[in-house]
Amino acid sequence: MARTAIGCEPLVGSLTPSKKREYRVTNKLQEGKRPLYAVVFNFIDSRYFNVFATVGGNRVTVYQCLEGGVIAALQSYVDEDKEESFYTVSWACNVDGIPFLVAGGINGIIRVIDVSNEKLHKSFVGHGDSINEIRTQPLKPSLVVSASKDESVRLWNVQTGICILIFAGAGGHRNEVLSVDFHPSDIYRIASCGMDNTVKIWSMKEFWTYVEKSFTWTDLPSKFPTKYVQFPVFIASVHSNYVDCNRWLGDFILSKVKLSVDNEIVLWEPKMKEQSPGEGTADILQKYPVPECDIWFIKFSCDFHYNAAAIGNREGKIFVWELQSSPPVLIARLSHAQSKSPIRQTAMSYDGSTILSCCEDGAIWRWDAIPT
């Protein structure tokens, strides 16, 4: 990428921790030897804000964070196919508020688990290749999107098991889609990114009738008139390498970009060009460096209020960034002598006081903020 023009420089955060908040290890679990790819708190139902789920191999496990560093294992699910390797998991619920877990991985099959009766609710077959991320629409938690290696993003209704929309085609991704996220307030908007170095913003506004139809559909899900959304409203090829995680921060986007050795999270503002819809530029506002994070598939997480983001790296360290200060401030850098394995994903609790990390070696670390 070319040199930044004068007057467009981003504010880069300093790697010196502010020590605003300090975290200490309060527990460590070892879940077999297979890598754990995802850990996620339930932000869908306020009664279960302390419940989290992990996936790794063919296993999905549900835990609860209790006082004093205690972790309780609540439920466990095992896919009968030993070859399955789950990459991602997300909390959702049906229209009655019964919590669901939605997981997907190498097989490309989305598993929807009803955790209230510990049964498989539905399995969605349709993706042509492995699933890299699943996210839930927070305003309508029966809707989930999945990002897949088959170059598509799909919108599903977990209640009825319908694939409503497929975001792919003429303006779609040209390689694996690695990450996708719902806009926090604009219910129609999603952002996806992937191996083709682009971030695409899609709108389903014109297709919303299909979304509504999916709730009342009584016929077979396969007979639903699934629509293709071929053109995103915005394409930004701001990055010169793959983007493996992106999240909305208000109307801005946080995306994690691979650099040569270090990676960084970039906060940018999408700017549409008036004349040519679809084309756009990104105004990079801030950068949050993440050292030694040059491997593929490391995702960051935010607390419920988007005050902070936590991201692990290849060396087992965690960087906690204050997201909404300008310039960015590093809250803390978490490290432990025994934590050496790459951290694939972190999970920040509702208020950010607990940080969980899941590692390549199958370990789950719990860090708690020390009251000051």
Partner: protein, 867 residues
């Protein structure tokens, strides 16, 4: 701009300090810009924070509204499976952590679900598309994920072709613009200054200069530009000249597919005008039926009765008026009876008018007259809106309404200014009334002559007006004369004079085109080119007037008409060149986007097309006039001339189609079939397309049976099913059984160049699935992201289908045909026909099963294999 005062004070000093000061100044400016950037980012983040707070409170409410109680009190499970105690105080960096092994006794099973074979999401195409430029993979890095390692691999194709970094134009940021502007405004455009600035920003001096001039333009002519933009936004309007409108038509309309924005042939194709024109579509005027109520033929029959009426009116017998009106009315109604179902709006309006006159004469109240005038415009508007919906019943209803409104509106006198406002742009009353007399005189003169049909129509209108005048005179309301007349002329049958002055440039040009196409046939011109704009009668008047204004036919006396026409044409000539510029620019931009002038790639296709399997040649229409000579690109390229070429039909290089009578063109006896072409009903003598039993007037049957060699063109395909293959991955299956040589469907995809295909081929080889298909010397079909179900038909060395490239209306297309009888729901296979050394391992024939590889007919297509 900040601190203007200090800037100007430094200006006086700068001549002494020279460059040192300039650098200082630049740095100062840069710091300033950067400081402002920091502030603006902070502002943005702060604003965004407020928004997030808002969003979060909304989200929080959605999480807490769930009041479902489900079986467990504790949330998940009555009892946790296991509890792992932690370290409440937390551990330091170096403290040893004892990890808990999670071994859960009970876990629910997720039952097995059948996986589907992998595929990349693809879009269905029923027709090939040319690759859009942004889809190219040439010169782009491709990243792969290595399943075995944990790291993504980067695969760049930089080893072979130097990625020419396109000399991208520097995008100037607002900050840079500011620096540029401030410095140049203060220090002038000296060479030193330019050099210093370009060095400072780090771009070429020429770009700096360019940018400065753009900025200057922007600041100076800001308003002007906005105005221009606003004009640009407008769609094709009637104000535009025809050539301007045609410009976008020429650029966007595909003459081969007959649609706009063709994805196969692209925009901005070279325009080819056929060298021989079709003769006019001429019919004998005598046995022609009137095309509508406004046909000039219709007017001709009207004129007789009307002329009588006019004379009567001129004589001014007040008692007769009503009867005359009923007369005219009768004629009009009579006309309607003659041409049922062809009620036109104006006609209906007219009928109302003539009816309305009756109450006026009987009542003769001033105020009601105004009301009529008002009502007239109203009803005519109504009738315009309703178009042909106004039938007899309706008009009766309107009549009732009028009566009603008459009663009501006696109190509500409509203000005069409303009426005048509604009649903008109509010639001043004095000119008009002057012309009236002329018109009536004309009318008297020409009454006997049969040529003056249109004139008498206008006279008819005048007669109406005259009737009005008479009434009004009787009612001592002289002031209202012009208003009444105007309101009439607006809603009424347009008069010849008034209309000719309203011919917009585009209408005139359309008319000229019409003469070019149809000859002097006003019915066809009005119906086909000016429908909704001008009636046949108007066209015919215009035709007569314009021809009379030509020197050799100057017989007509109406000098006024001549003048207006002339003025208008002058106006048109002035208008024309000014507008298309914008449009043309737009067309060019499109061209960039869809540029399809892919230069040949001889070195690559030779590699593929070597041996005796000669690859087909891409056809591009030539623009030769009359006969094609040595310069003809078709001849040069080795393709036949087709119907899309400019050359004459008798061109020696033309493919002449077939004359097959009974064979139905299904064998090599048919020249089309033998040449790997589908028959074309435009070219072949006996090949026709049936679309009914003849009751709809389609062309008569020409051969014995229907041609069997137009199956791609007519999409006479079989239903293909997609399912898991019995062999590998996905497979294509047949719904119904077919017999040998039946056409199954088309293999569609993106048309890409061979160079692109080689690049993509490498990518696809890694994924071990390729959907590339050699089409001709220029293009390869790629069905990877766009295609149809037949892309999933698998390879077999002993297949039941074969693929064949056919030339269909100038385009190469791949058809899949049955090689033998195939039962319903059987899987389809065809030989991908990889070259012996090109085939991937799985496609190689087992040893010993050497079939006659060389004897396969050369027309059969093969899959593309990259090198």
């Amino acid at each position: 701009m900040v601190s203007r005062a200090s800037d100007s004070s430094s200006k006086s000093r700068q001549s002494n300090d020279g460059l040192g000061n300039l650098t200082y100044k630049l740095n100062q400016l840069k710091k300033q810009v950067q400081a402002e950037r920091v502030v603006s980012v902070k502002d943005k983040i702060e604003k965004n924070r407020k928004k997030i707070e808002n969003d979060i409170s909304q989200l929080l409410s959605t999480t807490s509204r769930k009041s479902v109680i489900f079986a467990m009190d504790n949330g998940f499970g009555n009892m946790p499976l296991c509890k792992y105690s932690g370290f409440p105080q937390g551990l330091g960096d170096r403290d040893y952590v004892n990890s808990h092994e999670v071994v859960l006794s009970t876990s629910s099973k997720l039952s097995h679900v059948q996986k589907i074979p992998p595929y990349t999401t693809w879009i269905f195409l029923d027709k090939n598309q040319r690759m859009a430029e942004d889809q190219s993979v040439v010169g782009r890095r491709r990243i792969y994920y290595d399943q075995h390692g944990s790291e993504a691999l980067v695969c760049s194709d930089s080893e072979e072709d130097i990625i020419e970094p396109e000399e991208e134009k520097h995008e100037f940021s607002d900050g840079e613009d500011r620096i540029l502007w401030t410095v140049f405004e203060e220090h002038g455009l000296g060479e030193e200054v330019i050099n210093a600035v370009s060095q400072f920003i780090g771009i070429a001096t020429s770009e700096v200069q360019d940018r400065y001039s753009t900025l200057k333009e922007k600041y100076d002519g800001k308003n002007l530009k906005e105005f221009e933009d606003a004009g640009h936004e407008r769609g094709i309007a009637l104000e535009k000249s025809l050539s301007a409108a045609l410009d976008s038509f020429d650029n966007l309309f595909c003459r081969r597919c007959l649609l706009f924005d063709c994805r196969l042939h692209g925009c901005s194709q070279t325009l080819i005008n056929p060298s021989e024109k079709q003769p006019y579509w001429s019919e004998y005027e005598d046995d022609r039926k009137p095309c509508s109520n406004h046909c000039y033929l219709q007017a001709f029959s009207l004129s007789l009765s009307l002329s009588a009426a006019v004379q009567d009116t001129v004589e001014g017998s007040a008692g007769n008026i009503s009867s005359i009106i009923t007369n005219t009315e009768g004629t009009l109604l009579h006309c309607n009876a003659e041409v049922p179902g062809a009620h036109s709006d104006i006609m209906a309006g007219e009928r109302c008018n003539s009816k309305r006159v009756l109450p006026v004469t009987s009542e003769a109240v001033d105020s009601s007259e105004v009301a009529i005038g008002n009502e007239n415009t109203d009803t005519s508007m109504q009738s315009l809106g309703k178009r042909k919906a106004l039938e007899l019943n309706d008009s009766v209803k309107v009549f009732d309404e009028i009566e009603e409104s008459l009663n009501k509106k006696q109190k509500k006198l409509l203000p005069l200014d409303v009426l005048t406002a509604s009649s903008d742009g109509i010639p001043r009353p004095d000119t008009k009334s002057g012309h009236h007399v002329g018109a009536i005189n004309d009318n008297e003169l020409q009454m006997t002559s049969k040529n003056t049909i249109k004139k008498s129509v206008s006279a008819k209108v005048v007669s109406h007006n005259n009737i009005e005048h008479n009434i009004m005179d009787g009612a001592k309301d002289v002031n209202k004369e012009p208003e009444m007349k105007q309101s009439f002329s607006k809603g009424e049958l347009p008069e010849g004079v008034l209309c000719s002055s309203e011919w917009k440039p585009i209408e005139k040009e359309l008319y000229l085109k019409g003469v070019e196409i149809f000859g002097r046939n006003s019915c066809l011109i009005a119906r086909n080119l000016l429908s909704g704009l001008k009636t046949c009668m108007e066209v015919s008047t215009y035709m007569r007037d314009s021809s009379s204004s030509m020197p050799h036919k100057s017989v007509a006396p109406s000098s006024f008409l001549e003048e207006t026409v002339k003025v208008d044409t002058d106006y048109a000539e002035q208008e024309m060149p000014a507008r298309p510029r914008l449009l043309r620019r737009r067309g060019r931009a499109r061209k960039l986007k869809y540029s399809w002038k892919s230069a040949g790639h001889p070195s690559i296709w030779k590699r593929i097309a070597d041996g005796k399997n000669q690859s087909c040649k891409q056809y591009t229409p030539c623009g030769c006039q009359s006969m094609c000579g040595k310069q003809c690109p078709c001849l040069h390229n080795g393709t036949c001339c087709e119907k899309y070429c400019g050359c004459s039909k008798s061109c020696k290089n033309r493919f002449r189609g077939c004359h097959c009578a009974k064979s139905q063109c299904r064998s090599r006896q048919c020249p089309c079939f033998a040449a790997g072409r589908e028959c074309d009903p435009d070219v072949c003598r006996n090949c026709w397309v049936s679309c009914g039993d003849g009751s709809l007037g389609e062309p008569p049957k020409r051969g014995d049976g229907q041609c069997g060699n137009m199956r791609l063109l007519l999409r006479q395909q079989q239903r293909i099913l997609l399912a898991k293959s019995d062999v590998a991955g996905w497979g294509a299956f047949l719904k119904n059984s077919v017999s040998k040589n039946d056409y199954l469907g088309e293999y569609t995809g993106e048309l890409i160049s061979h160079r692109e295909a080689d690049k993509r081929g490498k990518i696809y080889d890694r994924a071990n699935s390729s959907f590339l298909f050699d089409l001709n010397d220029q293009y390869v079909l790629d069905a990877y992201r766009k295609g149809d179900k037949l892309k999933f038909a698998n390879h077999s060395s002993n297949p039941n289908c074969f693929a064949k490239v056919m030339l269909v209306a100038g385009d190469h297309r791949v058809g899949i045909f049955a090689k033998e009888h195939i039962e319903a729901s059987e899987e389809l296979f065809y030989d991908y026909r990889y070259g012996p050394d090109q085939a991937p391992a799985w496609a190689r024939k087992p040893e010993g099963s050497k079939r006659e590889d060389s004897s396969v007919s050369q027309g059969r297509a093969k899959k593309h294999q990259s090198h």
